[in-house]
Each structure stands twice: as structure tokens, then as C-alpha cells.
């Protein structure tokens, strides 16, 4: 097969896997945060702040993978 086609193929699959991981991570995070807020509505502000930080960290790791897939498609 044409190497360029293979690279596009890999980039598409990689982007899909990236979104599965990122969505799963942030979904679990949001679910736990909702759980925590409903149990302790008083500490909703703190939980929300911690959730945003953790979401940022997950997102950072997801973007590393995403950049690798973009490089696959461009090179």
C-alpha cells in the first residue's frame, strides 16, 4: 500500500483512540465530581476547582497523542 495512505490510515485510527481515552478519562472524572458534589453540596466550589485541574492534566496528555497523530498525517 502507498505509505502516505497508511499514514493517513494510522492518523485516523490514532485520533479515534485518542478521543476514546480522553472522553473516558474526563467522563469518569465528571461522574466522580458529580457524585462528590451531590454528597457534599457545601464543598462544590473546591470539587469544581480540583475537577478543572484534573481535566486540564488529562487534556494535556490527550493533546500529546493528538499531536503525534497530526504529525503522522502531515509528514
Amino acid at each position: 500500500m502507498d505509505p502516505k495512505a497508511l499514514a493517513y490510515f494510522a492518523a485516523g485510527i490514532g485520533a479515534g483512540l485518542t478521543i476514546i481515552g480522553g472522553a473516558g478519562g474526563i467522563g469518569r472524572l465528571a461522574a466522580s465530581a458529580m457524585d462528590g458534589i451531590s454528597r457534599q453540596p457545601g464543598s462544590a466550589g473546591d470539587i469544581r476547582g480540583a475537577m478543572i485541574v484534573a481535566a486540564g492534566l488529562i487534556e494535556g496528555a490527550t493533546f500529546f497523542a493528538l499531536i503525534v497523530t497530526i504529525l503522522l498525517a502531515l509528514k
Binding site: Y8, G49, I52, V53, G56, L57, E59, G60, F63, F64, L66, I67, A73, L74
Partner: protein, 275 residues
Amino acid sequence: MSLLHAMLLSDPAPEAVAQGAAAGHGEDPAEILMHHVLDVPGFLGPLSKHLVFFAVVATLVIVIVRLALRGYKDGLPRTPLANAVEAILVFIRDEIAEKNIGHDGHRFVPLLASFFFFILTAALFGLMPFSATSTGNLSVTFALAFVSFLAQQWAGISKFGVVHHFTGLVPPGLPAWLLPIMIPVEIIGVFSKPFALMVRLFANMIAGHMVITALLMLIPLMAQMSTFLGLAIAPVSIGLALFIMLLEVLVAFIQAYIFTLLSAIFIGMYAHPAH
């Protein structure tokens, strides 16, 4: 141009390329769209587009904060602008610096506030037509992350001295056979923190623009197949692009907050290595 091809996943029609080449750049719709995302060298004399907007945003931030400073009378903010700036500054001091760095966190408030205001203004400025997001450039985010890196190391060095700062990176009380593993891990950790800041900001700033570009690029792509398809996809594309634009406003605030917060957390890590 290779990025353009990757996004279109096919070569543009030859006549469109010939037309674009004959009329100079800016005629091809794809070229106009991509010029909003990518850096344009030689935008203003020797300066590239991102550099120009970097300077514009930096000047704007300085002017706005100086104007807010003039709204103070007897130590209290008297104008709406001064109140708005003070609200953000108090949030950065109390919620970001003091909480994550500790009681000496107020030393880092000027730096953290500069990060916040610059990243926020750059991201919002990049949403305007004919402008560019200067933080959507890896060199700019590298510089921001490098300043953050220096602040993190300085927080540790100024508190403990050079030797104690670097020996304190490895947690005390480890068994000796773990040291060959822990020392490289901690050295990687020192550099991966600012590296993550750099990539996160860059990717977030460019991702929204890329999605908008891809959505708008559907219109010429479909119009090449048939006029009807082009007309049919246009409202859908523009509606989705508008939605992503609104999301971008949210992302601008969240990313400014996250960059500032993570910088504060990392500074706090080096200022208080024991916990």
C-alpha cells in the same frame, strides 16, 4: 501547503491553484482560512503575523491595566475598569497563589497575573476577524512555559539554596537502591512540567481554530462537487463554526486559568517539597 492538503485530503482543483497563483495569495478561500490559523511571515516588514499580534496584545494588556490603576482614589477602585481588574487580581491572589503556594504566595502574584491577563487577552483577540492567536504558536508558548520554569526553580532555590533545592527533589528516606531510578525520574519531572504547559496551551489555542477551519473548508470542498451541495452545507457549517466560536470564548478563560493555576501548583511543589 502540505497542511492544507492534509485537511482537504485531496489536491485542490488545478484551475483554483492557477487562479490563486495568478492573483497572488489571499484569493483562494482555503488560503484565507488557513492564514487565520498559521503564522504568516513578513506580515509587517520583517515581523510575522503572530509577532505583530503578540506585541499588540502585550501593549493592550499594559494599557488596560495602567488605565485601571488610574481609577484608584484613596486606595479604593472608583471606576468600573478598576473594579473589574481588581476582582480578577483578588481571585488570582486568594484562590490561586495563596492556596497553592502558601503564605509567601503573594510574591508570585505579579507573575501569575501577567500570565493570566496575557493568555486571556491573546486568546480573545485571536477570535476577532483578520487577527491571529499569538499563543497558537509553539515559540510563544515555549517562552511562557520557560518563564514559568524559571519561576518554579527560583521558588525552590531562593528558599533552600542551590544544593538543598536539587537534593530535595528526591524524597528523603528512600532506600539507596531506588536512587538510580528516582534521580532520572525527578530530572525528567523538572522538565516535563513546563513542557506540558507549553504543549497544552499551544494545542488548545490552535485546536478550536483548526476545527472552525475544517468546518468552513467543507463549503468550498462540497461546492467543487456541485453548487447545490455547497449551498446546502453552508448553513450547517456556519452554524457549527459559530458554536465552536462560542466554545472558544470559554476555552480562552479556562486555559488562562489552568496555565496560571498549574504554574502556581508547580511553584508550590518546589517551595514545599516535603508535601
